[in-house]
């Protein structure tokens, strides 16, 4: 992957809050290739969301540069930048006073896309995230389940046909079965649409199964970065611990299932 130039590049990026007392992101350098699916994992407060917000200029870094397709985003109009990228918010971030269709179609509407085109796009996206068009189009966010709302969040991020999608725990509120299915669906979509995706997750298993590479954040720093195989060779104890949990679970699960299965 190092032979193609990176689509998103963080270079010595730092961001702190509360007058420098909280170093949310601390000297992070990270290249993300075009078409790559990167998962970001790490404990609560390790700086994952901050890293993502920096990428579309919801906040600006204290130090370092972020480039997209070689262009320093500090010199790009943040409004246009954000309309070009999809963003799925950790808390959903659906507008409660807008219908599901209006929520999904918001960025195309801001871009001045004609109404019929938006309506058609909204229907396609509802299909894509497996929500019934007729049933959900005109409902309001509070009339949906938590999982349905998260799907709408994903659909909204994809509405303006972005090349880059930033997702902050997009599948957090889903049951394991739907979560797995939607993850797999999204992964397929990612490949089909040629997207570049950065997805934050708490779930190491999900990260390992879906992503090309996994970035591990710890106290604002990038503790490790690599494919599942590369990470498994890491001698960092924190990474080992992160990987150990799903592995042990898988072994126990396997044991449990085979014990029951053999006579």
């Amino acid at each position: 992957m190092s032979d193609t130039p990176p689509l998103i590049a963080f270079s010595h990026v730092a961001k702190s809050f509360d007058g420098g007392r909280v170093k949310a992101v601390d000297d992070v350098t990270l290249d993300i290739a075009a078409g790559e699916f990167l998962a970001v994992v790490g404990g609560s407060g390790s700086g994952k969301t901050t890293l993502l917000r920096l990428a579309n200029r919801l906040i600006n870094p204290d130090a370092g540069t972020i480039t997209i397709a070689g262009e320093d985003i500090a010199r790009v109009d943040p409004i246009l930048l954000r309309r070009r990228m999809g963003y799925v918010f950790q808390s959903g971030g659906l507008f409660p006073h807008m219908s599901i269709a209006a929520n999904i179609g918001i960025t195309p509407r801001l871009l001045g896309t004609p109404k019929p085109e938006i309506a058609a796009r909204v229907d396609d996206l509802l299909d894509l995230v497996q929500l019934d068009r007729v049933q959900h189009r005109d409902r309001f966010p509070h009339e949906l389940s938590g999982g349905q709302r998260q799907r709408v969040g994903v659909a909204r991020a994809l509405a303006a046909k972005p090349h880059i999608v930033l997702m902050d725990e997009p599948f957090g509120a889903l049951d394991p079965v739907t979560r797995d299915a939607l993850g797999a669906d999204y992964r397929a979509l990612h490949a089909r649409l040629g997207l570049t995706t950065v997805m934050i997750t708490h779930d190491m298993t999900e990260a390992l199964l879906l992503a090309d590479r996994v970035a591990v954040m710890r106290e604002g720093r990038l503790a490790a970065l690599g494919t599942a195989a590369e990470l498994s060779r890491s001698d960092d104890p924190y990474v080992g611990e992160l990987l150990g949990t799903p592995r042990r679970q898988a072994e126990r699960l396997h044991a449990a299932l085979s014990r029951n299965g053999t006579p």
């Binding site: 579309n56 919801l58 409004i79 246009l80 954000r82 309309r83 963003y87 918010f89 808390s91 971030g93 659906l94 507008f95 409660p96 006073h97 918001i106 960025t107 801001l110 871009l111 909204r156 303006a160």
Partner: protein, 519 residues
């Protein structure tokens, strides 16, 4: 008497188009102005903590000023402003009635709108404003597409509060010359016409309720995006405004306006004058319930054409004279001072309505009190009541000085209730008016002012500068001059304080005219 068959209801309903129309007009103008000022201010202040707290503090302070005082304050303020603009640009405006009322009420409406808009916008989940930015909204789009719609219920609640406050407080704009539903209340309170008071209160309450419900309809319509509800609400409000505006376009402005202060005698005399004008073929309307200081300036500015004042009032209040002058000198002085301001003193009506210290005759005789000098020895153990202005007036200072008066307690009262209060022993002495019919009714006596501390209060007819050469007007009023003696005025005032159809100021005025012609 059956309350519902009272003929005064019909009289009240007859005034409704005028009073209600004016009330709606002044309230709507004030609300629109208040909204137009506070809404942008609130938007500007929402991300500026210092400005925000300054605004809210100022608006809260304004709110603590009583409505009547706020309205009264705007009158001199605008008067000074009008003088400035006319000397700078040669362009004056009327500081009377509509303008001060609208400005004061608009100021009054600002607090709920400011507070609710600011808190409504602040109360929005930061995750949503972040999402608005995240999907690519500009700050303006975020405001109009996300923040304002979400804060709408809170903002509308503020607007509804403001509307109810303004409609209620607008009843207080009567004394500064703005006709409103308050005319019922002020006139009713003065002439003891409780039907009027009740009618005014009910009308104002219904208006406030209706507007509040219409705004609620618009709000719910906006929330569920129902075009029908929003349009219906707006349409009814627009219709209300249109109906309110219609009479003001239709009305001819060429008529004579007769002013009246806020007490019974003034209502009766204004009715008498306007009946005389109408009889002479001059169209006339009355502007009632004007404050004592407002009415004089209104005459100077030509906002009213004619009214009855009292020599001592002008001498002490308008021309700020201290001390006392003999009747003739005082009248001559006033005439000269009025002439400087181009006001015509047409003549005296023939009676005096002076302040006088009054107490029950039986008690005065028992204590052997006949003059204010006699009273001074007993004052330390007595209480005195006066109207709302009396204790701030130079006459009171002069009385205290001349006789060394010092009462145990002094109380302010609605002038109508004073006589009953002193008759029942609730207070010992009152500062009443010599022409009040209730003096005879309650068996009260007027104490002799042997040291002439109180100046003469001859009732005089004043004409506005622009009517200086109006021979028709002068001829129409001539028959009244010198024809109303104290006995006639007292009886007229007593009749006017009764209940029933013949106690209406217009009826009493007709009775007076008949009496004048009998002589």
């Amino acid at each position: 008497m059956n309350l519902l068959s009272d003929p005064r209801w019909n009289d009240a309903i007859g005034h409704l188009p005028d009073y209600l129309g004016n009330h709606v007009r002044v309230s709507v103008a004030a609300l629109v102005l208040g909204l137009a000022a506070s809404f942008p201010l609130a938007l500007m202040a929402r991300n500026r903590p210092v400005m925000r707290s300054v605004l809210l503090v100022v608006a809260s302070i304004v709110q603590t000023v009583p409505g009547l005082a706020l309205l009264a304050l705007f009158y001199p303020l605008l008067l000074a402003l009008a003088a400035l603009t006319s000397s700078w640009f040669g362009l004056g405006f009327s500081a009377f009635g509509f303008l001060p009322a609208v400005l004061a009420l608009a100021l009054y409406s600002m607090l709920p709108v400011l507070r609710n808009t600011i808190t409504g916008l602040q109360g929005i989940d930061p995750a949503l404003t972040e999402a608005a930015r995240g999907v690519g909204m500009t700050p303006r789009q975020s405001l109009t597409m996300v923040e304002l719609p979400l804060a709408l219920p809170v903002i509308m609640a503020g607007i509804r509060t403001a509307a109810v406050w303004v409609i209620g407080t607008a009843t207080l704009s009567t004394p500064i010359g703005q006709t409103s539903l308050g005319n019922y209340i002020f006139a009713g309170l003065q002439t003891q016409n409780w039907v009027f008071v009740l009618f005014g209160c009910i009308a104002a309450a219904i208006l406030a309720l209706v507007v509040d419900q219409l705004l609620a309809l618009i709000e719910s319509g906006l929330q569920v995006r129902s075009r029908i509800r929003v349009t219906a609400g707006i349409a009814v409000i627009a219709a209300l405004i249109a109906v309110a505006l219609a009479p003001s376009f239709a009305r001819t402005k060429s008529g004579y306006i007769v002013g009246a202060k806020t007490f019974t005698e003034q209502y009766v005399l204004a009715a008498l004058i306007s009946q005389r004008l109408q009889a002479a073929g001059l169209p006339a309307t009355t502007r009632e319930g004007l404050g004592s200081n407002v009415i004089f300036e209104a005459l100077v500015n030509g906002d009213i054409d004619v009214y009855v004042d009292y020599s001592g009032t002008l001498w002490a209040n308008q021309f700020h004279n201290a001390g006392i002058a003999p009747r003739e000198k005082l009248l001559a002085d006033i005439k000269a001072t009025l002439a400087q301001r181009n006001i015509i003193l047409l003549g005296e009506l023939g009676f005096e309505n002076a302040y006088a210290l009054v107490m029950p005759k039986a008690r005065a005789d028992a204590l052997n009190i006949h003059s204010i000098g006699d009273l001074a020895a007993h004052a330390g153990a007595m209480s005195i009541a006066g109207d709302y202005e009396f204790f701030a007036r130079p006459e009171w200072a002069a009385l205290k000085k001349a006789y060394g008066l010092s009462f145990r307690e002094q109380r302010q009262m609605q002038s109508n209730f004073m006589y009953a209060a002193v008759a029942s022993g609730e207070v010992d002495v009152i500062a009443g008016y010599t022409s009040d019919g209730q003096i005879a009714k309650y068996g009260l006596t007027v104490l002799d002012d042997s040291r002439h501390a109180i100046p003469p209060y001859d009732a005089i007819v004043l004409l506005a500068p622009r009517r200086a050469d109006d021979a028709k007007l002068k001829a129409a009023l001539q028959p009244l001059l010198g024809k109303i003696d104290i006995a006639l005025m007292r009886e007229a005032n007593l009749r006017a304080s009764g209940t029933g159809a013949d106690s209406l100021p217009t009826a009493v005025a007709r009775w007076m005219w008949a009496k004048i012609n009998e002589k």
